[in-house]
């Protein structure tokens, strides 16, 4: 049957394209990986042509940006999702849902502009404050030569272009996506159980704690993970804010950091054959990480009782 053949053909075509991308990615990465060996996982610099390169620095930087984003976005997303599904008046609800979905479509370059021109210098005092009061926690420490805690002459430059600011920008980017998935999950909490909770004399918060949150647990975890997956792959907003220094840099408040995608954007052009392969290896590592997170997220979402679609 012709129709069947056409349909199957398109399936095969898509499969071929996807496998082509995947296998090319893997192939090019392998070329680079073979020469780097285990150093790939432990080396934190990025000078592929000199043979000193690895993902320890950039991947940890990527994860840090992702974590900052998730830590900031998740509470806000939960609050917003709860507000929309439980507190907002019915008339407002629909428009709020549309608004959140709309925000998910805002181009990342817009978030980048916002982060670079507005947010960056508003956040510096916050970074300063955190580093002064919580500097004893390793990731909030500032490890710059000559930096003196509490000095009146503290440089604002120490706090600009940091992982923290980049993570914050990404947090606002992934916030709508997370919120949207969580709200979907919350709104599926069965009406019967909600009413049962009210019937037993629960307050609204009591009902949320007893019914909505347990039901939406899958949605919360899944939404957060999908948001994390998105945050890890974000390029342009991070590239605009972060000063890319490919090295292991655990102090998130401090100037300089790195992510895989920002490094690719920075270095793809000047890279020769081998360096491009090295970038592919980094891209592959990022891809695999995102893949694992996405699959885990969708299985969490699918398995939860709410059965919310992961979209």
């Amino acid at each position: 049957m012709v129709f069947r053949q056409i349909a199957t053909g398109s399936g095969i075509a898509v499969l071929v394209i996807m496998l082509l991308v995947g296998s090319f990615l893997a192939l090019r990465a392998t070329t680079a990986l073979n020469s780097a060996g285990l150093d790939f996982l432990t080396e934190d610099g990025w000078e592929p042509d000199a043979g000193k390169w690895g993902i320890a620095g950039i991947l940890s930087g990527t994860i840090l940006v992702g974590l900052v984003a998730v830590v900031i976005a998740v509470p806000l997303a939960i609050g917003t999702a709860l507000f929309i599904s439980e507190y907002a008046p019915a008339g407002l609800q629909r428009s709020l849902i549309s608004l959140v979905d709309l925000m998910a479509a805002v181009p990342s370059v817009v978030y980048g502009l916002f982060g670079f021109f507005l947010l960056q210098y508003k956040v510096v005092p916050l970074s300063l404050w955190i580093s002064e009061h919580f500097g004893w926690i390793p990731i909030f420490a500032i490890d710059v030569d000559g930096y003196e805690k509490g000095s009146a002459l503290t440089q604002t430059t120490v706090f600009t272009s940091s992982t923290f600011i980049a993570g914050m920008v990404v947090a606002f980017m992934v916030l709508p996506i997370m919120c949207s998935i969580m709200r979907e999950a919350f709104s599926q909490a069965p009406i019967g159980e909600r009413e049962a909770a009210f019937g037993l004399g629960a307050t609204k918060w009591g009902m949320i704690r007893a019914v909505v949150l347990p039901f939406g647990k899958g949605g919360i975890i899944g939404g957060s993970m999908l948001g994390l997956g998105r945050a890890l792959g974000e390029t342009i907003a991070v590239f605009m804010v972060l000063a890319v220094v490919p090295a292991f840099q655990p102090n998130i408040l401090q100037n300089g950091g790195s992510t895989v995608s920002a490094l690719i954007a920075l270095r793809y052009g000047e890279s020769g054959e081998f360096s491009v392969s090295a970038l592919f290896a980094a891209g592959l590592a990022l891809f695999v990480m995102t893949l694992v997170i996405n699959f885990a997220a969708s299985s969490v979402v699918a398995r939860s009782r709410s059965g919310a679609e992961s979209g």
């Binding site: 398109s10 990342s108 817009v110 021109f117 002459l153």
Partner: protein
């Protein structure tokens, strides 16, 4: 994306009183209450808590040292929650207090979310409005507009066209394929379909930049195609395909089984069921999926960044030449330091935002409902629709006609190409050091019909792209064949030659204030510069810096060196100087950064993490970072012109004879007298520079970090470079070697001396396809040499003032782009110096502004007539036909460019036919199949 589409409000069946107002749960059954309204006590508690929190915070701020905006906000919010809990607990139980506080927290979280999102959008729109209110913003491109031009010139037409073409091509690829694939996944379930679905699901995790990198590595890097709109469309397609398949899959899955079964029961074939039941039922959902995929694709910057290249002019041909898109244009514009360019960037982003929001609203209007779910109006119209079936088919025929008409328009439109002359566009990339000069020249030659695209992506990138054949020329400060960090920078396989294009000084631009007043007359010795950029000097009040600046009381601020994060010729210039002059400092720094000593010249500045250095990409990146008001204490190395453009001062550098000098055009020209130029025409590195003599030039006016910038020219037609491109490149080279040099001093560069102009002109002859011109260089009006060939710029270069000499005195005049004076701030000689310095300054112009009229008063007035003649020679040899003998190349050029327009039309026609086929073939096949089955 499913949650975007299947929006259902389950809330409506809840007991309304319970879901609407929190106070319904109050356990006080004996009092009858109005359930829907707020109680007075609720409002009072809220207001009371707010007021109490605000006033307590204010009190705290008055008595305790709390600064900034953030701390009071955090404190007052915490206080508010505490007060609110206390107030509510006065007349409620513990459970209720918890519920109220939780409600307040949730409400404030969502308020914060929505306000942040509103700020993001509003900020972009408001900042973008400055540019968007000008109509020319939509009707012009940036070919003629310079970065400093007002917003009434130039626009983003090229980016709009680029975005539309790229997304159209991406959609033409992904929509038929994606929807068919989704149909396959749903209609032929099985092990293979499951496998495909898993793979597709996996590919949605592919970061968009990796999709871009894939196309870059295959289509551009390996297959040797140039960067183009089509490559960008392919990258977008790879990125969008899984998204569209997945969304369409979800939508198709929701088609109710009974509809399909009903269709089968009527005896329809599988295909007819899909065509007449499944697809129409899910039409709105599919449209939404496609529109949302489009919105996602339109806003993506990273895949386009890697694949589209960058062009300032309109390029309607997606297959050939760089083509910029809206997000990329926004990204590139805001990297520039000029407020006009930033405004344009915001305008572009705002336009993009509006476009995406429009698409989104469209998606909402079209879809947003699950299949089978109908609004009242839809139900009403359905009856009308079924009556009008015949009309529907007629309308479809009409649509086909319209599509043909539209395509006809599309095909006709490029028949009037933007390039009026017979010059084909060329593109190059590389150095940001000389980008300002190239951008000016590029704009100037548009009047001759030449379109030259130049992307300042760093010298390393330029050399690499030239080696790969993705650009027609590259600009770099250093030649091929150097070993950088132990890696040999191999020369390209294609034949090439170097040609000097302009000279200039690598300047040290800084942002430093004394008591809130910007310092503009900082002086540094070479050793101190080396110590700053190797992290040895860490504070501005270091005694070594103090010694250079006797009149300045420098603050106890950290020195923040800003270096380039990308591979750069400027870095190479600086590190050559560092390694040759201050080898031990440089090597020990390099070792700290993990490189092996001796480090030598490098294009990527090694940064020691945590050393207080900041790395930014591009000259615009570093100068932009330094020029931020807040970034006090920063210092960077850029070409002098960037300091002029950002209105920032530069360091006066100590030269061999004990004077602190600025990299003005004349000081650079003097300095470069010490340069050794490779004068062996057989050598591969013919004309390249050895600068040791410049570093130690004993002239009191010499700027030690002067150097030339080079263009890498192809000397054979290979890959995408052909003779018609060679013609454009040749004419462009003739222009900037001769006439273009006049503008060098104004831009912050130094014009080439006569020997290099002559050598450059002979190099131009080696470009395949060039129309050889006999340029009379005495008419070039190059400020460096007079008609007799004497180096006027050097001859007229003013001697440095006495106050610029190493010692106890220091000039107070400003430098670079900031000429405001810096009064002596030192504790010592306050009384005498203000008197003496202003007295000195008016007499001794040492800045390019005052310098130029003085240096070449004879040349400038005479410019214009001579320039006009040269114009005709270089730009339009056929029109003027001055030298004669050029008819043969002219004919070939015409043929070649005619071929390219013909090619363009052919490509557009093919694209049109393909689109028509995409539109028409499925229904025709459907009819055929249906006919056979009957």
């Amino acid at each position: 994306m499913a949650e975007l589409m299947s929006v259902t409000v389950e809330q409506s069946t809840t007991v309304p009183t319970q879901s609407r107002s929190p106070e319904a749960e109050a356990p006080e059954p004996q009092v009858r209450r109005n359930l829907s309204a707020l109680r007075t006590s609720d409002v009072l508690a809220l207001c009371g808590a707010l007021g109490a929190a605000a006033s307590t915070t204010w009190l705290l701020c008055v008595f305790a040292p709390i600064t900034g905006v953030l701390a009071p906000v955090v404190i007052s919010y915490t206080l508010f929650l505490a007060f609110y809990a206390a107030l509510v607990s006065l007349d409620e139980t513990g459970q209720m207090v918890k519920a109220r506080v939780a409600g307040a927290v949730i409400f404030s979280a969502s308020l914060l979310t929505f306000s942040v999102l509103a700020v993001v959008v509003a900020y972009c729109l408001i900042k973008g409005f400055t540019a968007m209110k000008h109509w020319n913003f939509y009707t012009e491109d940036m070919a003629q507009a310079g970065p400093l031009d007002p917003l009434t010139v130039g626009g983003i037409k090229h980016a709009i066209v680029g975005t539309l073409e790229q997304i159209a091509i991406a959609l033409a690829i992904t929509v038929p394929l994606g929807v068919t694939c989704a149909v396959f996944l749903n209609e032929f379930p099985g092990r293979f379909a499951r496998f495909v679905r898993t793979i597709v699901e996996a590919m949605t995790a592919l970061p968009s930049i990796v999709a871009g990198l894939f196309i870059y590595a295959t289509w551009i890097f390996t297959l040797g195609n140039g960067k183009s709109g089509f490559a960008a469309a392919l990258a977008l397609g790879v990125m969008m395909l899984p998204i569209i398949i997945r969304a369409a899959d979800v939508v198709l899955r929701l088609v109710p089984g009974h509809l399909k079964e009903a269709s089968y029961a009527l005896g329809s074939s599988h295909w007819r069921t899909v065509w007449h039941v499944v697809l129409p039922t899910s039409r709105s959902g599919l449209t939404t999926a496609v529109i949302l995929g489009t919105a996602r694709g339109i806003g993506e910057t990273s895949p386009v960044l890697l694949t589209a290249g960058f062009a300032n002019a309109l390029n309607t041909n997606p297959v050939e030449g760089p083509q910029v898109s809206l997000p990329l244009q926004a990204f590139m514009s805001v990297k520039q330091p000029q407020p006009e360019m930033i405004a344009r960037g915001f305008g572009t982003a705002a336009f993009l935002l509006i476009l995406v929001l429009f698409l989104f609203v469209l998606a909402r209007l079209v879809g947003g409902r699950a299949p089978g779910q109908l609004s009242a109006r839809q139900r009403r119209t359905i009856a009308r629709r079924s009556r009008a079936d015949v009309q529907r088919f007629a309308a479809r025929a009409g649509a086909a006609v319209m599509a043909v008409a539209l395509l006809g328009l599309l095909v006709v439109k490029p028949a009037a190409p933007a390039y009026a002359e017979d010059y084909v566009p060329i593109s190059g990339s590389g150095s940001t050091w000389s980008q300002n000069a190239l951008d000016q020249w590029r704009r100037n030659v548009t009047q001759y019909g030449m379109q030259v695209n130049y992307q300042g992506t760093g010298s390393s990138d330029g050399r690499n792209q030239f080696r790969n054949g993705t650009v027609d020329f590259a600009v770099s400060e250093i030649p091929y064949g150097l070993t950088d960090g132990g890696v040999y920078d191999a020369p390209p396989e294609r034949k090439y030659a170097y040609m000097p294009i302009v000279a200039g000084g690598t300047a040290f631009m800084y942002n430093l204030k004394i008591n809130g007043r910007r310092v503009t007359n900082l002086r540094l010795s070479g050793e101190n510069v080396a110590k700053i950029f190797t992290g040895v000097i860490k504070m501005w009040n270091d005694p070594a810096i103090k010694k250079d600046n006797p009149k300045l009381a420098l603050p106890a601020r950290r020195v923040v060196p800003v270096v380039r994060s990308d591979g750069s010729g400027t870095t190479a210039q600086l590190t050559t100087w560092l390694s040759k002059k201050y080898g031990s400092l440089w090597n020990s720094y390099c070792e700290k950064a993990g490189r092996s000593a001796p480090c030598g010249v490098t294009s990527t500045y090694p940064v020691v993490s945590g050393s207080g250095f900041t790395a930014q990409s591009g000259s615009l990146g570093v100068s932009g970072y330094v020029s931020q008001q807040q970034n006090e204490g920063t210092i960077t190395y850029v070409e002098y012109s960037y300091a002029l453009n950002t209105d920032f001062p530069v360091v006066k550098l100590l030269n061999k004879s004990g004077y602190y000098v600025e990299p003005t055009a004349s000081n650079v020209a003097v300095g470069l007298l010490g340069a050794k130029i490779n004068s062996d025409p057989q050598s591969a590195s013919y004309l390249t520079q050895i600068l040791d003599g410049v570093y130690d030039n004993a002239d009191s006016r010499a700027y030690p970090l002067s150097s030339y910038s080079y263009m890498v020219l192809p000397t054979e037609a290979s890959g995408s470079f052909n003779t018609s491109k060679g013609k454009t490149l040749g004419a462009f080279a003739y222009y900037f070697l001769c006439e273009g040099q006049q503008q060098a001093p104004v831009l912050g560069y130094s014009p080439l001396p006569i020997n290099l102009v002559k050598a450059g002109l002979t190099q131009v002859k080696r470009i395949p396809g060039v129309q050889v011109e006999n340029v009379d260089i005495s008419k070039c009006n190059n400020p460096t040499f007079s008609a007799s060939g004497e180096n006027v710029l050097v001859k007229n270069a003013p001697k440095p003032q006495p106050c610029d000499r190493i010692g106890a005195d220091q000039c107070s005049t400003g430098t670079g782009g900031d000429k405001t004076e810096t009064p002596p701030s030192d504790n010592g000689g306050d009384d005498e110096t203000p008197g003496s310095t202003p007295g000195e300054t008016p007499g001794t112009g040492e800045t390019p502004g005052t310098n130029n009229p003085g240096a070449n008063p004879g040349a400038n007035p005479g410019d214009t007539p001579g320039a006009v003649i040269i114009d005709a020679d270089t730009g339009e040899p056929i029109v003027e036909a001055a030298p004669g003998a050029e008819t043969v190349p002219a004919v070939t050029q015409n043929l070649a460019s005619g071929y390219s327009t013909g090619m363009q039309i052919a490509l557009m026609t093919i694209a049109g036919v393909v689109l028509l086929l995409v539109v028409l073939v499925p229904p025709i096949i459907g009819q055929l199949i249906a006919g056979r089955r009957r």
